[in-house]
């Protein structure tokens, strides 16, 4: 077992007391280090950052071809299409969230570190959102133009996607953590995660729809924010528990 040997060397190198008494600012340093490391790693693999965006554009291209190029029809279904396509693009990028770290063993190091795993996982998810959810949100208005999305809803589209995709990253990370130890977890991951995405989709697409109809969007955005708050509070613990299961299994 490679796992037990790693544990043995760590406990030999550091006496047990140092594991309990962490240096001041230890968590902050660890968070910064995890954040910077993940950011650097992802920025060096540009393909992985660009793929979801290309996928997003491609899926949006398919709809006018498959349904109809009629701008009137497209403009009525555009909010839902944009949201669904962005959601799928975000889902596509989830599988690699912990995969690399799992393969090269650095995930085990995260587990063994004296800092809480939930916080470190949160840092990783934050990077994922920064390089997947946020670019998708920024790109969506461009695709909105192509689907003749009615004017006045572009800002809301970006805002709702930015807010919603943070929840998507958090919820999706639970699924990614559960399936990272499995050889072919990709399809299973979408099966686990997609049902949990539905509330976010409802209120995200609902916000854009409301903006088009001229209704108030604050309620939708407030609920998206509430969903994010709940996800921020609960998801890190679920991610940490899932990572422990995947590593020890």
């Amino acid at each position: 077992m490679p796992m037990s040997s790693t544990e043995a060397t760590v406990s030999k190198a550091e006496p047990a007391t140092s594991l309990h008494r962490e240096p001041s600012g230890g968590l902050r340093v660890a968070l910064q280090a995890t954040f910077r490391r993940d950011l650097t790693l992802l920025l060096r693999r540009r393909g992985e950052v660009l793929n979801p965006l290309v996928f997003f554009a491609l899926v949006i291209t398919l709809f006018p071809i498959g349904i109809s190029p009629d701008p009137e029809l497209l403009s009525t279904i555009a909010p839902g299409l944009l949201w669904v396509a962005a959601l799928l693009a975000a889902l596509l990028s989830l599988d690699s969230l912990f995969r690399g770290d799992y393969d090269d063993g650095s995930l085990e190091q995260l587990l063994l570190s004296p800092q809480p795993l939930a916080a470190l996982a949160l840092a990783k998810v934050a990077v994922h959102w920064l390089l997947t959810g946020l670019p998708l949100a920024l790109m969506a208005p461009v695709l909105g133009i192509m689907l003749s999305l009615p004017a006045g809803s572009y800002l809301v589209l970006s805002l709702s996607l930015a807010l919603g995709s943070a929840s998507l990253s958090l919820i999706g990370a639970i699924g990614a953590a559960l399936t990272v130890g499995l050889a072919r977890g990709g399809v299973l991951l979408s099966l686990l995660v997609l049902p949990l995405y539905i509330p976010v989709l409802i209120f995200g697409a609902g916000a854009v729809q409301a903006a088009i109809l001229g209704d108030s969007i604050t309620a939708h955005l407030a609920i998206l924010g509430a969903l994010l708050a709940v996800a921020l509070m609960l998801a890190p613990w679920a991610i940490a528990a899932s990572l422990r299961i995947s590593i020890n299994g």
């Binding site: 919820i171 639970i174 559960l178 399936t179 130890g181 499995l182 977890g185 299973l188 099966l191 686990l192 997609l194 049902p195 949990l196 539905i198 509330p199 409802i202 709940v230 609960l234 679920a238 528990a241 899932s242 299961i245 995947s246 020890n248 299994g249």
Partner: protein, 246 residues
């Protein structure tokens, strides 16, 4: 009290105690479902708007109740397993999942059949239908995740986590009626307000719901007992049991 719970947590004692309870639950389930079906299908008055087609409610509502309750029961079992490492809880959760999925499917299917005479269509994208469908996907996810792991312990813990994560979907189902404009009629049963149905229609439904719950408990106990024997096959007491049975 505590010693009883501790005893219940051990597979051997669970096996012994459940043997005593089991006949009662099976009998209650059989009597309640038979009485409820006959009363509901033959003697309850026909609905003044929907005619006889409303009688599908006697399958639809109990199945929908169970579909939601079983998910909660599964999540609670998962929590008990995660916190106290009681293996029985995980066995029960594993045995419940397929029944819950089946009940969700029955609720969806009977709803579709009911939809033809009342709404004139098999399927409506209405709030509660949709959330039932999501519940079915959640069940499938839990079952698939459990099946995907090669180590049983990892599978148990992963399924428990997913059931706990999924249980947040249950309140969404409950409140989805308020969230969306819906074509579906409001909930048939309500704990706080008096039922809108006349007593002759409502009583068989109550009996059917109780019957379905007894059936669920009886079936889960039976399946958990077989699972105990399967997982503990190498234990001394199981071998003794098998030796005596021969």
């Amino acid at each position: 009290m505590w010693t009883f719970i501790h005893k219940l947590g051990s597979p051997k004692w669970f096996y012994v105690i459940s043997a005593r309870l089991l006949p009662w639950f099976w009998a209650a389930a059989a009597v309640l479902i038979v009485v409820g079906s006959i009363w509901g299908l033959a003697f309850a008055p026909a609905d003044y708007q929907q005619g006889n087609s409303f009688r599908i409610i006697y399958v639809h509502v109990p199945a929908a109740f169970l579909a939601q309750s079983i998910f909660v029961a599964m999540a609670v079992s998962g929590l008990i397993f995660m916190v106290w490492k009681i293996k029985i809880a995980d066995m029960a959760a594993a045995m419940m999942a397929p029944l819950g999925a089946a009940m969700t499917f029955i609720a969806l299917f009977s709803g579709a059949v009911w939809g033809v005479p009342t709404w004139g269509t098999w399927w409506m994208w209405d709030a509660r239908l949709t959330s039932m469908l999501i519940l079915l996907f959640l069940y499938v996810g839990v079952i698939a995740l459990r099946g995907a792991f090669s180590s049983r312990d990892s599978a148990s813990r992963a399924a428990s986590v997913l059931a706990l994560v999924g249980v947040i979907n249950i309140p969404i189902i409950k409140y989805s009626v308020d969230w969306w404009y819906t074509l579906h009629q409001p909930a048939t049963f309500s704990v706080t307000s008096r039922p809108a149905m006349p007593l002759e229609m409502w009583m068989p439904l109550l009996i059917m719901v109780l019957g379905f719950y007894c059936f669920f408990i009886a079936l889960t106990l039976t399946r958990t007992r077989s699972e105990i024997l399967r997982r503990e096959a190498t234990k001394h007491w199981v071998r003794e049991l098998a030796g005596e049975g021969r």
